[in-house]
């Protein structure tokens, strides 16, 4: 449901006299519902750049990203207009990084309740859902009405994942979601990702975490010298 062909990204840095920096070049792959495609490679090689191109935080320089939407339309994310991308981000696509970006001085309960509430979900139902999931990810009840800025790194990341999964995305982009986490938080997050896989979410994840790759990945690609190389059978390669 996601087909990337000949994708390239370079940056022109005016602040450095027009220096061109290559992100990656001529990347092609396919991602499928219910499967997680892991992208690995050394730091600075362009893994996050690739994810951000799919999410359209970065505008690709060349190539296509054909995505099959919920209503069966094929859209090229590389060239889609902003309104289409906004609509997809709200309804079908989610991006999880290591960092939680939220308005300060708003409690975890308020943030999650607001995320769940919609035309078809009443404020009470939204609150009930928020309570259920906060409990599900092991965030202590005495933290529910606290600002997430007071949370530990693991608690913030659990909330981060919840916020992304609350909208039941069809395409989930994961940028080192388990980086720097304690074992307990890591396990909860891996569980949540497994659950999303069972719901046929298509996932592309950047990982340094070998255990996470072993646990989650159905295929693995290595980004090396700005190019993507398939590493057959992720679990075999890590055995």
């Amino acid at each position: 449901m996601l087909q990337v062909e000949g994708l390239s990204k370079e940056f022109k840095m005016h602040v450095r006299d027009g220096l061109i920096i290559k992100g990656f070049e001529d990347v092609s792959f396919r991602a499928y519902p219910g499967k997680l495609l892991a992208i690995t490679g050394s730091s600075g090689v362009g893994k996050s750049t690739l994810l951000k191109c799919i999410y359209r935080t970065y505008k690709p320089t060349k190539g296509s990203i054909i995505y099959l939407t919920n209503d069966g339309t094929r859209i090229n994310l590389a060239t889609a207009d902003d309104q289409t991308v906004i609509k997809l981000r709200k309804a079908e696509m989610a991006y999880i990084s290591q960092f939680l970006h939220i308005i300060p001085r708003v409690s975890a309960m308020e943030i999650l309740t607001s995320t769940f509430s919609s035309e078809s979900v009443s404020p009470k139902e939204a609150r009930d859902l928020a309570e259920f999931y906060l409990d599900r990810v092991g965030i202590s009840k005495n933290l529910w009405n606290m600002y997430p800025s007071t949370f530990s790194g693991g608690e913030k990341q659990r909330l981060n994942i919840l916020l992304a999964l609350a909208r039941k995305p069809k395409l989930l982009l994961l940028d080192e979601p388990t980086a720097s986490l304690d074992v307990h938080s890591r396990e909860i997050i891996l569980d949540l990702i497994h659950e999303a896989k069972k719901k046929d979410t298509t996932m592309i994840g950047v990982f340094h975490d070998k255990e996470a790759i072993k646990s989650l990945a159905d295929s693995r690609y290595d980004l090396l010298n700005n190019r993507l190389v398939e590493v057959s059978q992720a679990r075999k390669s890590l055995a």
Binding site: K12, H14, T57, H101, V106, S114
Partner: protein, 279 residues
């Protein structure tokens, strides 16, 4: 069926101080927005953009970039030199709002656009109660039933977390954050499809800023209203806006998804602006 047309379309908007001359009227390069030949200042220089249903559009730029001048021109606070703007909910977007009568402009200000200013004095009558401020807006829109006016004022003030027992107090006795919230409730009194926010958190204490911004986000989520938020603060824009337009010397020089503008800026000035952030 959902109407996906822009709720506001602005084309070729100009606010110029000075008569202009052959040099600047022909579009020749200006010196920081000023014509080197006749010294006319092009505060808003041929600006065009669209505001889509349910989106928050950020307009960012440094002081003097023209962003507030542009917003106020759209709200008829300031005369324009020339340009066009169309509101989808006004005559189906077929009439240029800069060419209509003053009576119709007042109608648009009462029904189709809400404005929240950086300085609450500009948006509120400080010697009227907060309830009376909202009532004024409702009465201007033709509401006459006292019960309806009272109920609506209470509802709006409650929605912006102003305690009901303060409805009879004058905003001059409120904190800056509360004054902004009263302004927001007044701006929303007649359910306008468009809300315009001009540096609404500038000058507020940090501790208050976050609550005002969260309120605006919640209102947008609940009402589906389209919002233009003008700010020099990229952190505010990052937090609030779906799309962002960057203004420099009266022109929009770059426009796109907010995270794209902040993380993958194309224009040289945007790159300088973004790389100057302290966080």
């Amino acid at each position: 069926m959902n109407d996906t047309r822009p709720v506001l379309t602005v084309r070729n908007l100009v606010v110029r101080f000075g008569e202009g001359c052959d040099y600047c009227l022909s579009g020749s390069p200006l010196d920081k927005g000023r014509c080197p030949s006749c010294y006319s200042v092009w505060a808003v220089n041929r600006v065009s953009f669209d505001l889509y249903p349910g989106e928050i559009l950020g307009i960012v730029g440094e002081s003097g970039s023209g962003k507030s001048t542009m917003l106020r021109a759209l709200y008829f606070d300031r005369e324009i030199t020339y340009g066009e703007a169309y509101i989808r909910e006004y005559r189906d977007g077929r009439e240029n709002i800069f060419g209509i009568s003053n009576q119709q402009k007042r109608y648009i200000r009462n029904h189709k656009m809400g404005m929240v200013y950086q300085n609450p004095i500009m948006g509120l009558r400080m010697n009227f109660s907060s309830g009376a401020n909202i009532a004024e807006k409702l009465i201007a829109a033709g509401v006459r039933h006292v019960g309806q006016i009272t109920d609506r004022a209470r509802y709006l003030l409650d929605h912006v977390e102003i305690p009901v027992n303060r409805i009879k107090e004058e905003p001059k006795n409120f904190s800056g954050g509360m004054q902004q919230r009263v302004q927001i409730s007044k701006a929303l009194a007649n359910n306008p499809p468009i809300l315009m926010l001009d540096e609404v958190t500038t000058g507020l204490d940090l501790s208050v800023q976050a609550r005002v911004l969260d309120l605006i986000k919640r209102i947008q989520h609940e009402l589906g209203i389209s919002i233009i938020i003008v700010s020099h603060d990229l952190a505010v824009i990052r937090m609030m806006a779906d799309r962002t337009a960057v203004m420099l010397e009266g022109k929009i020089i770059e426009e796109g998804l907010t995270d794209q503008i902040l993380e993958d800026p194309i224009h040289e000035y945007t790159q300088v602006l973004v790389h100057s952030l302290l966080y």
